[in-house]
Amino acid sequence: MDDSLSDNRPLRILIADDSDSDRLILKTLLRRLDHEVADARNGQDAVDIFRESGADIVLLDALMPVMDGMEAAHQIKALAGERLVPLIFLTSLSDADALARCLEAGGDDFLTKPYNRIIIEAKINAFNRMRLMHQTLSQHRDLINDRNRHLLEEQEIAKRVFDNVAHTGCLDAPNIRYHASPMSIFNGDVLFACPRPAGGMQILVGDFTGHGLPAAIGAMPVAEIFYGMTSKGFSGSDVLREINQKLGRILPTGMFCCAALIQADFHLNQLQIWNGGLPDGVLLRTSGEQETITSRHLPLGVLAAARFDAGMEVVRTEPGDTLLMMTDGVMEAENRHGEMYGEERLKRSLNDTGNAGSPFEAVIAGIHAFTGKQPEQDDVTLLSLEMVEEAELAGVSERLPQSALEGPAEWHCVYEIQDRSLGQFSPLPLLLHICMEVPGLRRKSGEIYTLLSELYTNALEHGVLGLSSDWKATPDGFGRYYAERERRLQSVSGHFIRFSLTHTMTARGGQLAIVCEDSGSGFDYRDLSAVGDENGYSGRGLMLLRKLGHSLNFREYGTRAEIVYDWQFSEVAAREGSTNT
């Protein structure tokens, strides 16, 4: 803190009086109080001295030649700007009006003649205290302003970093609509969407407890895990388990993340949803029916891994069905009277969908009509996901991040998964990861994942578990199929599924050979009806293979499936462009 704030420093006092004797008396009085005194004979000199060297306190005679005290007071206050320079009028005026005019002219007080040294000393000290307090407050204010500006700059930078890590992924897909405040990260809301390599997408809506940087920091690893795992093909449950564990480890007690994870499969027309602590989601059927997606779990980062339930609700959908998920900010949006938007109003807004165009627009319009605020001002995070035909989303998954590293080209690996792990662990992300080490295969991750996934699902469900795909044809059977699948998985014993992957380079690109063997009793792969059934064995994988002209062979009574997948360098593909892509 600088010297001027220490109380016992001599003050620099400027006095102006046209009477030589009065000036002499005052100057002597003040010097005997250990202050430094500068004196002027009129108002103009006083202003000049003040402009030149300033003063802590100014004592001015009211009536002076050249420039009187009133005008000098006015100019000195203007020169002082934000600083408080106490200004005391010296006067032998006695009528109240004249004294009041002195104060109106910018004076802080007056001293009447004859001078009384006790009064003078007391007033100087009182005004000095006021001056110091003002100075302290100004410094604190400047400091706070400075800190605040600094904080905003830091937030801006943090936001830029955050936006790079926690980018919005495929939120711009044509079937997604969302609203999030531009600085939502600092109110703790997160919204991510990522295409899955096998098609479909995963979406995470989250709301961290707390605000500001602490909330944003927790969101960083969530984004990393979500995008990293989803793009490698991990299921929603796997992503949830990983995020829960990570948050449990890094967040302080009392801080957690209310979240919903949505895994949308447009091919199967199915949503898998996990809601932990977010307000009820709403699924609007094309029929007009509304289904509630209630939170059935504690938020992420609360439970230990062993007690965490990552099971997702499976919901059958049809194209046109729309899912709405939101954070607390929607329910708690307040109007001028402090009332909250709430569930009832949400329902009323949704019933109004016909007029608004879409459920999303209906809710946004409802909130803004209720709060009277502009969309930019609120903390509302709202997501709308429409189920569509898979073909409408072509191109969305091609934006998965690519690694620039060179990878292996000639390799072979065998991976066998056995017994209990068959039910608990999906080898697909790992196998996909191995394949993605080959740069030329990275752009094909969707196709590779589909092949691996079809082979694995078939080997597990039809080979090892012996389930019949016919059941899946009806909604009832669909449920039974999955219930039976769960039941049989519990008692799997002495079984395995073995993948053998071999990659070699060719003149035009590379070749990936995938062999999948299982310990089941096989099936009649020559039954063409099974092969042609979309819901049955290798429906999509086989269709894709046929389309791409690759080979698929079954051996050992159907317990061994072999696929040879050829890929071409992009130049080769471009040259032969129209012929076989």
Binding site: S19, D20, L29
Partner: protein, 114 residues
């Protein structure tokens, strides 16, 4: 005209205390200053400038009060008032009275000087 004393002994004693060695300078300054002011009053009167007359009387009043010459201060105050009210006809006599009173004050003050 006024029953205020020529000099306020108490005020003068305090000034002596405050000014110490500079008391003589103060007295001389006051005497010089006052002579100038009486000349100012006369010149304002000659030019029939009531405003300047009133302001000069006001300033003179202030220094008289401060030095401890209350009767002279009172005379100045009356002159200030007359000037403000544009009664310059009576003012000539007032300046004479001021000058007379000042001569007495000056004489007594010089007695304080060594």
């Amino acid at each position: 005209m006024t029953d205020k004393p020529h000099l306020d002994q108490e005020a003068l004693a305090e000034l002596q205390d405050v000014m110490e060695d500079e008391f003589d300078i103060l007295i001389n300054t006051y005497i010089k200053d006052s002579s100038d002011r009486i000349a100012h009053l006369r010149s304002a009167l000659d030019q029939d400038d009531a405003d300047r007359f009133s302001k000069s009387a006001h300033s003179f009043k202030g220094s008289c009060i401060n030095i401890g010459a209350p009767r002279l201060g009172e005379l100045c105050s009356e002159a200030e008032k007359a000037g403000r009210e544009n009664r310059l006809v009576e003012a000539g006599a007032m300046v004479d009275a001021i000058e007379n009173e000042f001569r007495q004050v000056e004489q007594t003050l010089r007695g304080f000087l060594e």
